[in-house]
């Protein structure tokens, strides 16, 4: 399917939703059954490794994009949980290795989306640096398709570090790890064990390991922990007092737990701006009815 065909399918009337791989399908509420379900076009449109940018259609599975990038020694900030590029951006959650890869929001350079009126709208631009006009890509990222249906994006890519290893320790204090490793990929703790992704040039990885060994005994491991199902967004300092079964991302504030995070209330004026955004971008409420980020 082409982007134009996607525009036609969304159309300009009637409730509509876009399905990716449905990995986070119920985020923001249950979709109103009246909504017509459309899928987004797939494929890498243009990959410019020398510019460190890639133009990709929203329906493309993240793992396919990752493969294309890896062939040229690069990676991106999108989490690969079996979902699509458009889905990952609409959800807006960061990759587990956010310290190494950067935030997802900072990686979305340009979005082309279908508006509630059925028009193809562009925000942002193709270059790695751009302040031409208001930041529509930031608005669309994490909006779960309530303001526009993402059809195509330009993402920033980054080189895959020369060396990377996962190590674990059961006696090192995870909060001290952040002080001794300059640029870790991620630091995870399940309170009994700490796992760290150490990456960079080989000598940097070696000196990071040397610093880590002063904190405890470390062994290589396969990768991150299997995380409990519910993602919590906390302040990094809150992780120190976390109880129960969990995996915590130290220095970041993300935690995975067995129970769902209680609803986070937004300040009144923020709710008001958010409602105006929704009514300005989707006056008839046809985009993803039943779902809301407010």
């Amino acid at each position: 399917m082409s982007l134009d065909a996607f525009v036609d399918e969304i159309g300009d009337t009637g409730p509509v939703s876009v399905a990716g791989a449905r990995t986070r399908w119920d985020l923001g509420g249950t979709l109103d059954p009246s909504a017509r379900i459309v899928t987004a076009p797939t494929g890498v449109v243009e990959y410019l490794p020398d510019e460190m940018t890639v133009t990709v259609l929203a329906g493309t599975p993240v793992h396919e994009l990752s493969q294309v990038l890896a062939e040229r020694g690069q990676r991106c900030a999108l989490p690969d949980r079996g979902g699509t590029v458009g889905g990952a951006i609409a959800v807006g959650e960061n990759h587990l290795e956010v310290l190494g890869r950067g935030t997802l929001r900072a990686s979305v350079l340009q979005v082309r989306y279908v508006s509630a009126e059925g028009r193809l709208v562009k925000g942002g631009g193709p270059t790695v640096k751009n302040v031409s006009g208001f930041d529509i890509p930031r608005l669309m990222t994490g909006a779960i398709g309530t303001l526009g249906m993402i059809g195509e994006v330009i993402l920033r890519t980054n080189p895959i570090p020369a060396t990377s290893i996962w190590v674990e320790s059961s006696d090192a204090d995870p909060f001290t790890v952040a002080d001794v490793v300059l640029r870790p990929g991620v630091i995870l703790s399940n309170s009994a064990t700490t796992r760290v992704l150490v990456e960079g040039h080989a000598p940097d990885v070696a000196s990071a390991m040397e610093a880590l060994r002063k904190l405890g005994t470390w062994n290589e491991c396969d990768g991150p922990f299997d995380c409990p199902p519910h993602r919590w967004s906390l302040e990094p300092a809150d992780l120190r007092s976390l109880e129960g079964v969990h995996v915590a991302s130290i220095g970041v504030g993300t935690a995975w737990r067995e129970v769902e995070q209680p609803r986070r209330n937004l300040p009144g004026p923020v709710v008001e701006i958010s409602r105006r955004l929704k009514s300005n971008f989707d006056p008839t409420g046809r985009l993803n009815p039943g779902r809301s980020v407010i």
Binding site: D50, T127, L139
Partner: protein, 475 residues
């Protein structure tokens, strides 16, 4: 009905200025744009005062324009239609530094470099470092989503702001964003950064602080041509290296800088590339060696590695005082700001020289090459009749050439007044309409810094606020 100035003074006292000299001073920012006219100037000390000023302006049907240090280059802080000007310069305190959480809460009037100096003893800094960092403020950085040489690896301002307390255009005070990993709701914080003062006024800002890297390598590579320097930049990125900074300067600016600060730049070189890598010793060494190697392969005639912190500081001083240095050449300059794909740098630079020649203007180039962010400096003497027309015509052609190469209007200076007429070259009517919808969600009545960014015809009630205020309203 009571008078506007009296109502403002009820809370701010003599920190409301209405005298001609002050108002004349704040008619402009650091851009070439004339035509601004400031209403009462309010020197606010805290959030409550900003809120009072905004609410009072609403009562009197006047727009507001926030102002930091006035170093903006796109006219974003130029007051149009005698709005109430809100100066945040006195709100200049670093409120709290939390090294564990790597966060600092600061007031918007804190000077960019002062923040990094404040953090230095703790081993941290604020990463965005615009060339104006000795005077520009964090609030201004937020409004413009400012960049700087070191944003190549570290990212521009938006990547370093976690949360903000803001006074919204309707006078409400709220917090956008949060200190948690992934704040709930729409990313209003992300949208507000770069909002050019049109979405509200930041009164407290939580910034991410960055640990100072233990190892830094600063290289100065000399080339016969600007084209070779630009090609080296492309090749470095293509080799998978993301340096902390990569800045190119052409021969004309090298000579101006050398005469000004004696930074040790080779005045016989056609261009230099100032490249910096940082991190741990081993990796910095590897990347520096590879950059030197790539530079030589592209034709570098000399590669100089700064031997100590003094040499490094001097090289950077040369780069950062470049705009001051041109004052010895001509009294005025117009600094442009566009971005092109890195691989198109050399080609667009050729066009820039050709355009300037054709308009009989002297152009110097000093720019954030690593980001593809061009900064052509058009030099002129404002006393020369008709020179502004030539400067603006050449500027327009440079913008057109950048867009034709797949670039964008601005990398870090913003749109303000300067790039407003070009917005339609980059964006369709639908695109601009959506930017306006975003703006109106924050400011339905278009009271905050009206007349900027969105071109006329796409913008809401701006005209109402831009009307000339009749004489004699000063009381």
């Amino acid at each position: 009905m009571s008078d506007l100035v009296d109502d403002l003074r009820a809370v701010l006292g003599d920190r409301v200025r209405t005298d001609g000299a002050q108002r004349a001073l704040l008619r402009r920012d650091a851009s070439v744009f004339e035509g601004g006219s400031a209403g009462p100037i309010c020197l606010c000390d805290n959030t409550a005062e900003v809120q009072h000023v905004v609410r009072t302006a609403i009562t009197h049907g006047r727009a507001v324009v926030p102002r930091g240090a006035g170093t903006g280059l796109a006219g974003g802080a130029v007051p149009l239609g005698e709005p109430v000007v809100i100066s945040l310069a006195r709100m200049n305190k670093v409120l709290e530094v939390d090294v564990d959480a790597r966060i600092a809460w600061v007031q918007p009037g804190v000077v960019n470099l002062d923040l990094s100096k404040h953090l230095a003893p703790l081993g941290f800094h604020f990463a965005p470092d615009p060339s104006s960092q000795q005077v520009c403020t964090i609030g201004g950085n937020v409004a413009n989503n400012s960049g700087g040489p070191h944003c190549l690896a570290y990212g521009v301002t938006n990547a370093h702001i976690l949360a903000m307390e803001v006074v919204l255009p309707d006078g409400e005070v709220t917090v956008l964003g949060g200190l948690d990993a992934e704040p709930a709701g729409y990313d209003l914080r992300g949208v507000f950064v770069g909002g050019e003062g049109m979405l509200g006024i930041a009164t407290r800002v939580a910034v991410r602080i960055t640990p100072n890297p233990p190892a830094v390598r600063t290289l100065l590579l000399s080339f016969e041509t600007t084209r070779q320097a630009a090609a080296t930049v492309s090749s470095v990125i293509a080799a998978g290296i993301v340096p902390a900074a990569m800045e190119v300067m052409d021969q004309r600016i090298i000579i101006a800088v050398e005469n000004y600060v004696h930074a040790g730049y080779p005045t016989d070189a056609g261009a230099v590339l100032l490249a910096e890598v940082d991190g741990l010793e081993g990796g910095a060494e590897i990347d520096a060696a590879r950059i030197a190697e790539i530079g030589r392969a592209e034709g570098a005639t000399a590669v100089h590695l700064a031997e100590d912190e003094n040499q490094r500081a001097l090289l950077w001083k040369g780069r950062k005082t470049a705009f001051g240095a041109v004052a010895q050449v001509t009294p005025n300059y117009y600094l442009h700001d566009t971005v092109v794909p890195r691989s198109k740098l050399a080609e667009v630079l050729d066009r820039v020289y050709e355009i300037a020649d054709r308009h009989d203007l002297l152009v110097m180039n000093v720019f954030h090459a690593g980001d593809g962010n061009l900064h052509p400096l058009l030099l002129f003497d404002a006393r020369e009749p008709g020179v502004y027309e030539r400067v603006h015509a050449a500027g327009a052609e440079i913008v057109e050439a950048s867009l034709a190469a797949g670039g964008v209007l601005s990398g870090e200076h913003g749109v303000g007044i300067e790039k407003q007429p070009y917005m339609s070259m980059l964006f369709s009517d639908d695109d601009l309409d959506h930017q306006e919808r975003l703006r109106r969600a924050f400011d339905p009545a278009c009271r905050s810094n009206p007349g900027k960014v969105i071109p006329e015809g796409h913008s809401c009630a701006d005209i109402q606020h831009l009307r000339t205020v009749p004489e004699g309203v000063w009381g």
